[in-house]
């Protein structure tokens, strides 16, 4: 018990003190982006990992959140921060519709439907210029010059997201979600309204993803449909964060987010300038290979298969020694 | 001919068969009776190598079947007619028959054997071009047997051929099994329909909870008090 308290205390201090100690905006930026992915990955995990509904369309909620924030300044002349209040809610409304359509389908068909849904929303955002400005995108002026406010906002969001998900998973809802994942028919015969609870899972997931989107708008100050509704860079990235870190674990997506963002940056910058330049070309290749490796050998992700990793590392060390 | 020697079989971490041993001799009809979930189908699946035993051996005419991949079993002359027929529903009757004769001798004699199968089941000939999925239950069972015959087997294993058939058809199916046997094919039959099978078989084994609990000739078992209570409802 004591040990646990110390652990959490240290983690809290590290998290709170990080931007005060590491003053480089570059590292601060990377951690902010990682924390944003913690939110998206954890939300995806709630729906896919815990509830078993693998979404290939989380960009829908991310993008809707971002656009909700972005539309305040361009149509109402209000601050994009209003999006932080409403982005999650609007995403939930969209999720209601998505759920209504897609939850008629199970398994891979659900995955495909969400994938198509994501592309449809992207095309709508591209073509509905009077609302979204189309590919021109929305740009605003950042409110704060310093990264500190953004850091603490996204930190609070990420912590809230993880805590909420953890709390949910320890409640009736959590039991219901996992039951649905394990066997929908059995769940139904246990008195679980599977449609309702799948939707609840989706709504919570969409809410936090939408909030992450609204944060993105405020932080990056620029969005266009290709960026926020991207199949590759949002929907698939959310899945990668989840599976690399570990699906159906609370901390998996958090770990996955830091790994994926870290890896992406490491490659993009050619191992921080230490490796030859052509390495930077290989970051997507590395992603692909990582995915193949993880699925083959760590199917439950780094956190989920931690025991396996430890055993392997331990064994190699012994043979080496 | 077929010798199953103390096999132990598990699905994942769930053991289903414990030290099951039995034997089928050339020309016999041997029945494996037992309740739902006793491990009868598992036994057949293990013989056809779909499942691998954790320990124990299966020999067919001196050849170790448990070392072979599942698709090589049929070439040894052992054919398994699975529970629920398992036809190819979107293929015609004729194509289903062809599927029984993909390799070796059976392939060479394909059309000869097909004629023979049609002789056995004239109904199938009438429906050669019909999709298997549209056949009635009885016809499907005939086709399943026919498909097995196409591989020119020396041992045929039937998994609950009477399942879901009307009493009249059940009679038909069993007389078919007998007929096949009379043509020189050894038969291993798995059934819940204890009464009729016991009366037609040479020997029988009772499988309970993954273990062989009784064995003997059909009549011996019919007379057994335990069998009567548990399976005949008397």
């Amino acid at each position: 018990m004591q040990k646990k308290t110390i652990f959490w205390g240290v983690l809290a201090v590290v998290a709170l003190a990080f931007p005060l100690v590491i003053r480089s905006p570059y590292y601060q930026h990377l951690v902010i982006i990682s924390l944003m992915w913690v939110i998206i990955g954890s939300s995806w995990n709630l729906l896919a990992g815990y509830t078993g509904q693998v979404s290939f369309g989380h960009a829908i909620f991310f993008g809707v959140g971002a656009y909700t924030a972005g539309l305040f300044p361009i149509h109402l002349g209000l601050s994009a921060w209003w999006g932080m209040l409403t982005g999650g809610i609007v995403s939930m409304l969209v999720a209601l519709f998505v759920g209504w359509v897609c939850f008629r389908l199970r398994g891979p068909y659900f995955a495909l439907a969400t994938l198509a849904g994501g592309e449809i929303v992207r095309l709508i955002a591209t073509n509905w210029e009077s609302l979204t400005e189309g590919m021109v995108g929305i740009l605003i002026i950042q409110t704060f010059k310093s990264k500190l406010p953004y850091y603490y906002i996204v930190l609070v969001l990420a912590v809230a997201c993880i805590l909420v998900i953890e709390r949910i998973m320890k409640s009736k809802w959590g039991y219901y979600f996992v039951s649905i994942r394990e066997d929908q028919d059995a769940a139904e015969s246990m008195g679980i309204n599977t449609t309702l609870y799948k939707n609840i899972s989706l709504l919570v997931s969409a809410f936090f993803t939408g909030m992450a989107g609204a944060f993105y708008m405020n932080y990056m100050a620029f969005i266009d449909p290709e960026v926020v509704f991207s199949l590759h860079f949002i929907s698939i990235m959310a899945i990668l964060v989840g599976i690399v870190g570990g699906v159906a674990t609370i901390w998996g997506p958090a770990v996955g987010a830091f790994i994926m963002v870290g890896l992406q940056e490491t490659f993009r910058s050619s191992f921080f300038g230490l490796a030859p330049k052509w390495i930077s070309q290989a970051h997507a290749l590395a992603f692909g290979l990582l995915v193949i490796f993880v699925i083959m050998y760590l199917p439950n992700g780094i956190v989920g298969d931690w025991a396996t990793i430890k055993r392997l590392v331990f064994r190699t060390r012994r043979t080496a020694g | 001919m077929l010798k199953v020697d103390s096999i132990n079989v598990a699905y994942g971490d769930l053991q289903v068969l414990w030290d099951v041993s039995f034997e089928v001799r050339e020309g016999e009809i041997v029945v494996l009776v037992g309740a739902n979930g006793a491990g009868k189908s598992t036994t057949l699946k293990t013989i056809s190598s779909l499942l691998k035993p954790m320990s124990g051996t299966i020999e067919f005419e001196g050849q170790r079947l448990d070392k072979l991949p599942p698709n090589k079993i049929i070439e040894q002359g052992v054919v398994h007619i699975p529970e629920g027929r398992r036809l190819f529903p979107d293929m015609t009757v004729e194509e289903n028959l062809i599927m029984g004769s993909l390799y070796g001798e059976a392939k060479k004699k394909r059309y000869q054997t097909m004629e023979y199968a049609y002789e056995l089941f004239p109904r199938l000939k009438e429906r050669r071009k019909q999709l298997a999925g549209t056949l009635s239950g009885g016809e499907q069972q005939m086709l399943a047997v026919g498909r097995g015959v196409m591989s020119l087997p020396r041992l045929m294993m039937f998994d609950e051929p009477s399942l879901g058939l009307s009493p009249l058809l059940v009679q038909d199916i069993f007389s078919l099994v007998k007929k096949v046997n009379q043509e020189g094919v050894t038969v291993l039959l798995v059934e819940q329909n204890v009464n009729q099978t016991l009366s037609m078989c040479h020997r029988a084994y009772v499988l309970e909870n993954g273990r062989i609990t009784l064995s003997g000739t059909g009549d011996e078992l019919m007379a057994n008090q335990h069998v009567k209570e548990a399976y005949l409802g008397i």
């Binding site: 021109v136 995108g137 950042q142 010059k145 990056m220 969005i223 770990v255 790994i259 | -």
Partner: protein, 398 residues
Amino acid sequence: MKKATVIFCIVFAITLGLSGAVMAKGSVKVGIVLPTTGSLAKFGEIERDAFLMAQEEINAAGGINGLKLELLIEDTTGRPEVGRSVVEKLITKDKVVMIGGGYSSSVTYATAGVCQQNNMPFLVNTGSADKITTSGWTWIYRLNPPVSKYASAVESLLTQVIKPKTVAILHENSLFGTKGAKKFDKTCKKLGFKVVLKEGYEHGGIDFKPVLTRVKQKNPDIVYMISYIMDASLLMKQAKELKLTPKMFIGGAAGFTMPEFKENAGVASNYVISATLWHQVLPFPGAMEFYKKFKARFNKSVDYHGAEAYAACYVIADVLKRAKSFKNTDIKAALDATDMMTVFGPVKFTTWGKMKNQNKAATYVVQWIDGKLELVWPKEHATKQFQYPIDWLKVWGY
């Protein structure tokens, strides 16, 4: 819980632990942001090559007052969020004195925002959205004209020579295409041309015939297209297949000037005109040499993208030479005072209208004549007579 800690620590170590190379003495560092991977990589690569070529020449000629010019070319992968982190890294970790590059409007905008906040001079050379220099930002300078000015030469050609009554506009629905089409639509209204059709399309289509058939039905005097190379060649090939014959096909910069356009469209490229920002035959010192050198070295033709990058590199060198020190305010002062000739034409950053620190670059019209891209407008620079009117069916060999 413990496993999570360990993993966190490892990841933190990877992300934070590695520090960049120590700054080499005797050099001055400039960050260049370009998409060298991802879907925009093609143009990013051209600009990178041009930058590197210029860098070598500058250093061979003595560098920046004896110091070597060191370009740190960073990959934005064509995504704004990555661009942002790239610039932040360049500023805080690599301590560059200024930033150049900037391809694609969205990434450039996002990166420009960071530069403005950090008081970091940024010389944009390709990102063309008007907003980059109309946002009131003081640290952002732009060498290339904003997208709304891309068609200015075409406008004068239209009013003076072709005098069309009806216009059809097709555009890729990217930021560049959409903005350009909007602007041209406005221009047409101003000049009294009737826009009979205006359609955006998703980049990468195979079959443009449905929309071209509709264009044909409307029978406009000119067809104005804003497309990248491959869409451009497909549009022209399929226009030829459909025997669509307006008075003139006009490309709004981008794809229609690329050598690949001619290669792919073949005979269908003949006599098509296009707006452009640069052409090697322009009477700017070094323009043709640059074109030839680039072609000799990289075995590919170069268009205005390369010229922009090449020119930008010389502007950067010039600015750094003139700057009193490498302090940001001194560099900014030097940028403000820039007045030089480059392969891309004269460069001078001025403030006009809503534009701030914007170079007033001219635009031109080129025409594919007998397989060669010739400058036809404005007349004073023309290398060949503007070919008009044209019997398209004869040109296409029907």
